[in-house]
Amino acid sequence: MKKAIPYLRRTIQTLSFFFLLYLILKTAFPLELKIPVDLYLRLDPFIGIITFLTKKEVILRMLPAFGVLLVVLIFGNFFCGWFCPMGATIDFFDRILFREKKWSKSFNDQSLRRLRYGIFMFSLVAGLMAFQVMYILDPISLITRTLIIAFYPPAIFVFNTLVPQAQNFLPQNSLIASTIPMPLFKVNLLIFLFFVVVLALGVVKKRFWCRYLCPLGTLFSIVSRFRILKRFVTEDCTHCLKCVKECPVGAIPETNPQEYRQQDCVSCFKCLECPPEAVSFHFGLPRWRTVNGVNLSRRYVLGSLAFGAVSALMIKANPLQSESGLKNNRLIRPPGSLPEEEFVSVCTGCGECLKVCPNNALQSTLLEAGLAGLYTPRLVPRIGYCEEFCNFCGRICPTEAIRPLPIEEKRLLQMGVAHIDKTRCIAWDTEKICLVCNEQCSYLAIVGDDKKRPIIKEEKCTGCGICENKCPVDGESAIIVYASGVQKKLKPEDVNNNKKEVPAGPAKKEKSS
């Protein structure tokens, strides 16, 4: 039984990772999966707490996260050791690629270990000030974002290249496997490099990220101080220090292997492989006391809090965030997004909406929305436009930064307004007939004048960007969508277009949310 535990754990970790991968792959067109595709994010209590602080209200979708905290009270931060897909990835790479260096003298990580508490306090204060940038360090958000932005497009590229090759070996035209439209994301290299750095830190210490940086792990640590499932060591201990070496998170102090820091233990049960079989886990009364805890001095706590507060103020005082007239009017938020200030404080930058968008219209920001808006989604119409009968991004947003709207409501939401650059427009600038924008517009917001030149009807334009996307002018489009500030509802269009509705027509099948 004891021997089987490491294998069992590794299997569960692998399954958990591939389950996340499966959910990400299923975050696509029909979106008919029974389980929420953002399940992992909804189970993330760090996101749950911070969004509660920033939004000042409980987000219903995030409620399951608090259930996870209750389980942590029993089993300690089992999540890190058994289910966390980020932890699984780190464990995997720690084994095969970034093996821990053997240091000539043991290195005292006492001061390093309080780093993540500092980050956590920073996040809390910043969250209270309705600003959040620490989502970039949330492990679930991080791995989802990395898989979607950095790894999904290359995977599709390989698929699309290999499929036609494989088809050549088959009898001609027996089967045409459709290629998958390859999404393109602007910040992919940066996100990939950050991920590699996180993994490579394993060279310094096994699970470096989990030990010293992860804010979700910190939250679990604080709660799992009161854990009920506890480690006990009998007098048989021979101080062989095998458990100290094996422990992936360094929760067992070298000087005293009979004790352990219950808050750091990820319940991987590796220490059960004890030669004299002195170690056992069973339920016991919770206690706050621990050994070799981190030294959170008053100076350190106050320093972290102050640093968080000042940083939050600094980023808030950025001209992009304030009403300074320097607003980025090309920053179009997805349909149904909360007002900008609220949006950047609630959006975790997980990238789910980027994945689900059928037209690859949503892109991650870098600094277009200021530092507060790092990795938040924006609509880039030249790459893709917002599909008329699609409300997927709102349906999968774990923190409801993009509100889940029914299709009819989403269709009439104005994200921006298109404007024509008449010096570059084919119809205005030359004598050719174009009007691609007119024929593509889903909302009849672009009409042609008597010389067949496009004119925009602002009151009908939703800023979906299909005109900017399809404009045949090279490079930048001759029709450009500018954000309209706060998204507002448009008047529903006249439905009396078809007054003489003919009974012979098939029943209207309207797909609602």
Partner: protein
């Protein structure tokens, strides 16, 4: 040119098939006598207009005077249907093809012995939404056809447009070029830029970067594209047409209740133009008023003057 060699093949097959098509109705006269003497003389017309009836009846009636589907589709051939699934609209909005008619067309191809029927379109809206909202994916797959979207560039092949006046090279769906039988299945719609969307303009959807054609000169490009691969058969879906706000709609629709089958795409377009009223004069469009129809006629793609075409009007039910 592998296409040219294929064309030779089809001519021989055509003669064989034509012979069969002439004799077959005689053998099956018990079934086809419904259409009277018209059905006996196969290929007696170039343009057939069928009225009154359900979608499949209309198609049957329209095909019979042309010589039946057997004239075009031989046993074991691969058929490509270029449907109009360009927009994420419902069938009743008349922006996409009638699903019943598509199903009937696919069935007819299989009954004539087709090995594989593929329905293609390079959609303008997202293909998944177009396919599901128009109901055409479900219909096509139920009828046993494959339905494909041209969203991937690897489905295309660069060809030179030898007869093209303005368009020199263009990327065309490879399946269209390699198919044995190519059926154009358009739906006539009003279109602000080109006045009307008819059969020839439907072939915009076999081109990779169709928006670029607007830059070169839309009307001439539409005609030029039609020189690349001759449409073997045009089946025009005029059961319900869109008369305003085209081509995407939603706009006013009109129930014409006709299916037009033809071997001459210019003639079919010339006929269908009259469904629509000219915005200025208020009179039905003359074929010459549609620039691309005129251009195609000048290229020798077909007959614009309907009096020079053998037109047959039949009633289906």
């Amino acid at each position: 040119m592998d296409y040219a060699s294929k064309k030779k093949m089809t001519r021989r097959q055509f003669i064989k098939g034509a012979a069969a098509a002439v004799t077959l109705p005689h053998l099956l006269s018990g079934e086809t006598c419904f259409y009277g003497s018209l059905a006996h003389a196969a290929e007696e017309s170039d343009l057939v207009i069928a009225k009154n009836g359900s979608a499949s009846q209309l198609l049957q009636a329209a095909m019979a005077p042309l010589g039946g589907m057997g004239r075009f589709v031989k046993k074991g051939q691969r058929v490509v249907i270029k449907a109009n699934i360009a927009w994420a609209r419902t069938p009743d909005q008349a922006c996409t093809n009638n699903p019943d008619l598509l199903a009937a067309l696919i069935k007819m191809c299989y009954e004539a012995g087709a090995k594989r029927v593929a329905v293609w379109d390079h959609t303008c809206d997202n293909y998944q939404f177009c396919f599901s909202r128009s109901g055409l994916k479900e219909t096509a797959q139920k009828a046993g056809a494959d339905i494909f979207s041209g969203h991937g560039r690897n489905s295309y092949k660069q060809v030179e447009v030898q007869k093209g006046k303005k368009l020199k090279t263009v990327e065309i769906l490879r399946d269209v070029l390699e198919s044995d039988v190519f059926i154009n299945f358009p739906i006539p719609k009003q279109h602000f830029a080109t006045e009307l969307t008819l059969g020839m303009k439907n072939l915009m959807g076999i081109v990779w970067d169709m928006e670029q054609l607007h830059k070169i000169g839309l009307h001439q490009c539409i005609a030029d594209i039609n020189t690349i691969r001759k449409t073997d058969l045009v089946v025009m879906d005029a059961i319900r047409i869109l008369t305003t706000n085209g081509p995407k709609g939603p706009g006013k629709t009109e129930d014409i209740g006709e299916v037009i089958a033809s071997t001459d795409i210019v003639a079919a377009d010339a006929y269908a133009a009259a469904f629509f009223k000219h915005p200025k004069t208020g009179k039905p469009f003359k074929p010459e008023e549609i620039q691309f129809v005129k251009n195609a006629y000048d290229l020798g793609l077909g007959q614009i003057n309907l009096s020079k075409v053998r037109v047959k009007k039949v009633t289906a039910a």
